[in-house]
């Protein structure tokens, strides 16, 4: 238990974000093949039990394809379960920015949130790991 708690604490610190739910929160992560630099940005630090107001921002040295399909999935590896809802990434008017609708977390602990970025030829993944 202490080890887990220590991990949780470190997770919060490494995320570079405070736990204050009134402040914006973000994480950055490159995609697995390195094409994209992805930012997961939320209006406030994610909390269990409520729909979250988050977006995915993709940046690339090449242009982000206009037809890029973005799928979302996630879960708690330590508990063996997924997200409580099925969120969707919706393109916004800002090129490369996707609104994440329907995102919820069910409990505190270590979560992963992954995105499949499919341009039709070479899918890439980006996975964020963080603690609530």
């Amino acid at each position: 238990m202490p080890k887990t708690l220590l991990t949780l604490t470190l997770g919060l610190l490494l995320a570079g974000c405070g736990a204050d739910p009134n402040h914006a929160w973000h994480l950055q992560q490159p995609s697995d093949k390195g094409t994209y630099q992805a930012t997961l940005s939320c209006a406030s630090a994610p909390i269990p039990g409520a729909f979250q107001e988050c977006k995915l921002i993709l940046q690339s040295s090449q242009a982000v394809p206009a037809n890029l399909l973005v799928a979302v999935d996630g879960g708690m590896p330590a508990h063996g379960h997924g997200l409580p809802t099925a969120p969707q990434a919706i393109p916004t008017d800002t090129h490369g920015t996707y609104r994440i609708d329907g995102l919820k977390f069910s409990m505190p602990g270590e979560w992963v949130l992954g995105f499949l970025l499919d341009n039709g030829t070479q899918p890439e993944k980006v996975v964020f790991r963080f603690s609530l």
């Binding site: 708690l5 949780l8 919060l12 630090a45 909390i47 039990g49 099925a86 919820k104 505190p108």
Partner: protein, 395 residues
């Protein structure tokens, strides 16, 4: 769940992350972290009760009508079954039985009702997304009230007292006495004969029946929404002192036993579906078995009889549809009043809280191929089990 206590949960989970567990301490006092976590469980953190799909949820006349319907045994095939047959007021609106027994023996334990209106999903498998929609299903269930949809509407509107209330509340048309022309027993959920009778009705007639049926559910939901969640000692912490044993149990609940991972918030439920190993392979897979039914339910949040806008239907719009992930998962029940609502689990298989705690400890030890649940490791000795039970009994 409708949010409001969640910021407090966030604060508490953060505090939990930095919390060094203390096993030797005075049980009558809480440290700052413990108190912050326990206070996330207070009723004061509940948001305002609001089901956008039910426009009369807070209408006093609807609650009054719903109360009459809730206790009316005429709304059953044998004239002896009401909602209150299983949801008995003197038993926290439950029945104390393993599974519900009305016209026949059912398959699920009867849940208590006070505070249930705050839930996101209804029934143990969550196959209904509103309280009013839930209230409709037992009326047509052959093992419960055993009526057909048209018989229900005829029963209601032939009663001048009910007819007057429906007219005033919902502007139900009564001038043509349209209900008198309905088939006696027609239902989209009935026998083949009843289904054929339903199909032979014209679409306008079916729609009128469905609309009145939905109104009936909304009135019952208004009554059930008036049953507040029971208060407990947690609501007044730290002013209310727990016994040393219950206080030790509270520390286990929010710490070592990890109950709070799912039993969180003012209702002590995170409103999700979890596999604790109680599903029956091939017989009852819980949440996984009802996903299509939720989406096609004409009485769901997005249906034509809902009063909600699509924006109010987030739970339905973003429904998790993975049968594999949800196999064997059942709703996390709230724990307020839990000592008064035995037996436990979706099929009432556990007679006592002692059996429940023992089950969690044993099931969490499963490893490898035998593991059929998502429980974290829960290690409790005999003393700790007693402490946890003491806490559960004050909820």
């Amino acid at each position: 769940m409708k949010t409001g206590w969640l910021a407090a949960v966030m604060l508490a989970s953060t505090l939990l992350a930095g919390w060094a567990w203390q096993t030797e301490k005075d049980s009558s006092t809480w440290n700052e972290q413990e108190l912050a976590i326990l206070q996330t469980l207070r009723l004061q953190n509940l948001p305002a009760l609001q089901d956008a799909s039910n426009a009369v949820q807070h209408h006093p006349a609807a609650a009054d009508l719903g109360r009459q319907l809730f206790f009316d045994q005429r709304l059953s095939r044998n004239g002896k079954v009401a909602c209150a047959t299983c949801h008995q007021p003197d038993k926290a609106f439950s029945d104390g039985k393993t599974v519900a027994e009305a016209l026949a023996r059912g398959t699920r334990n009867t849940p208590a009702l006070p505070g249930v209106a705050y839930n996101d999903w209804f029934f143990w498998d969550g196959r209904k997304d509103s309280l009013w929609s839930q209230a409709l299903a037992p009326l047509e269930n052959p093992a419960e009230h055993g009526l057909t949809r048209t018989r229900i509407i005829r029963l209601l509107l032939q009663d001048p007292h009910y007819r007057q209330q429906f007219t005033q509340l919902f502007a139900t048309p009564t001038d043509s006495e349209w209900w008198q022309h309905l088939p006696e027993d027609a239902s989209p959920n009935g026998t083949l004969t009843q289904l054929q009778a339903w199909k032979q009705m014209d679409s306008q007639q079916r729609q009128q029946v469905d609309r009145t049926f939905a109104h009936l559910g909304k009135a019952i939901a208004a009554y059930v929404s008036s049953l507040p969640p029971p208060a407990n000692a947690l609501d007044n912490l730290p002013q209310t002192a727990l016994s040393p044993e219950a206080a030790a149990g509270a520390r286990l609940f929010i710490g070592k036993a990890q109950c709070i991972l799912c039993h969180s918030g003012p209702l002590l439920s995170n409103q999700t579906f979890q596999n604790i190993g109680t599903g029956s392979l091939g017989q009852d897979s819980g949440r996984a078995a009802v996903l299509d039914a939720i989406l096609t339910d004409r009485f769901n949040c997005l249906g034509e009889y809902s009063d909600a806008s699509a924006d109010d239907c987030g739970e339905l719009k973003f429904l998790s549809r993975s049968r594999h992930a949800l196999a064997g998962a059942f709703k996390v029940p709230g724990l307020r009043n839990v000592a008064q609502t035995a037996p436990y689990f979706h099929d009432g298989r556990m007679a006592t809280l002692e059996e429940v705690v023992d089950y969690y400890v044993e099931a969490s030890r499963q490893t490898g191929q035998r593991r059929d649940n998502e429980l974290p490791a829960i290690e409790l000795d005999v003393t700790e089990k007693h402490q946890l039970l003491s806490f559960l009994r004050i909820l």
